[in-house]
Symmetry: C2
Amino acid sequence: MSTLKARETFEHYLKLKGLRVTEQRRAIFETAISQKEHFTADELLERVRALSKGKYVSRATVYRTLPVMTESSLLREVDIGTGEKFYTPHTGNNSQIAQVVCMDCDKIFEISAPFMDWYGSTVSSKLGLTPVAQRLQVSARCDTLKTTGTCPKAGTNHTSKKR
Amino acid sequence: MSTLKARETFEHYLKLKGLRVTEQRRAIFETAISQKEHFTADELLERVRALSKGKYVSRATVYRTLPVMTESSLLREVDIGTGEKFYTPHTGNNSQIAQVVCMDCDKIFEISAPFMDWYGSTVSSKLGLTPVAQRLQVSARCDTLKTTGTCPKAGTNHTSKKR
DNA sequence: CTGCCTGCAAACTCTTTGCACGAAT
DNA sequence: ATTCGTGCAAAGAGTTTGCAGGCAG
């Protein structure tokens, strides 16, 4: 997505929600959608500040902007049960995505899981419920790490923090 | 599970881990495995104190005992992404269980999902990973609530708290 | 008697929020 | 000129932890 296109999208979504266009929101938006990996609110803040030559951006503003972007489907929120929320640019209408999380390097892989909607509908209807969302996560360990001693995927991701 | 059997199990697992048998641990253990619904650490504390006629039990001890019980497979930890951990007595070797969470009454239903292991193995091997655990969660809304205005399952569960 | 266990309170992490000032429309 | 957005700091929620005294083995 080009920067020009990105800016149009940005203003488009803000106007849709009746929100004002500010330098902070633009900086957060541009940094967020250019991310290649999953990121946390804190990582985003760090990168916004590194990239943005403009105004100072506070942590609070990042936390306030992230919901706006997810509600506009610009980002997708990914919860892997570590206590912190991850975000990733949302491309397409893929709702049936599972996460494979490497417990060694904390990297998150996104994999299609085309049966999720079917499963959600099936079990929900038996309970008198209407499904809203599904979440499927696989936690796994790195084979290479076990033999070589190094995880080939490590280092490309955010800082490791377990809890 | 009878109380006698329960006590044997309790001491068995503590000895396995080289831990001491204390009145607090016994009270927490007995209360936890007798729960019929999912519970949080705080709810467990409350119920331990209500049931236990013996020594005072502190919040810290409950938090320190829960991991012991999950590591011994006496409890199963259930994370539905609300910020707090839920626990439920673990019966059998069922690792292929999905959770259906009613967003209206916060009740958690546990449903068999026999394809989870297969899916986990399949996608993990493609990534050079070995699966350790799977988690599948369906978030849904109550049909009855929408028409009647009341959720028939509400009230049987823990206190509603969203975040 | 020795060392693990407990209770207390403080610390911690991630996130949200009240308030006053500043900026967008 | 309004009204919304921002930064700051404090508050929250759930959980963990350092320490000193107590109890199990």
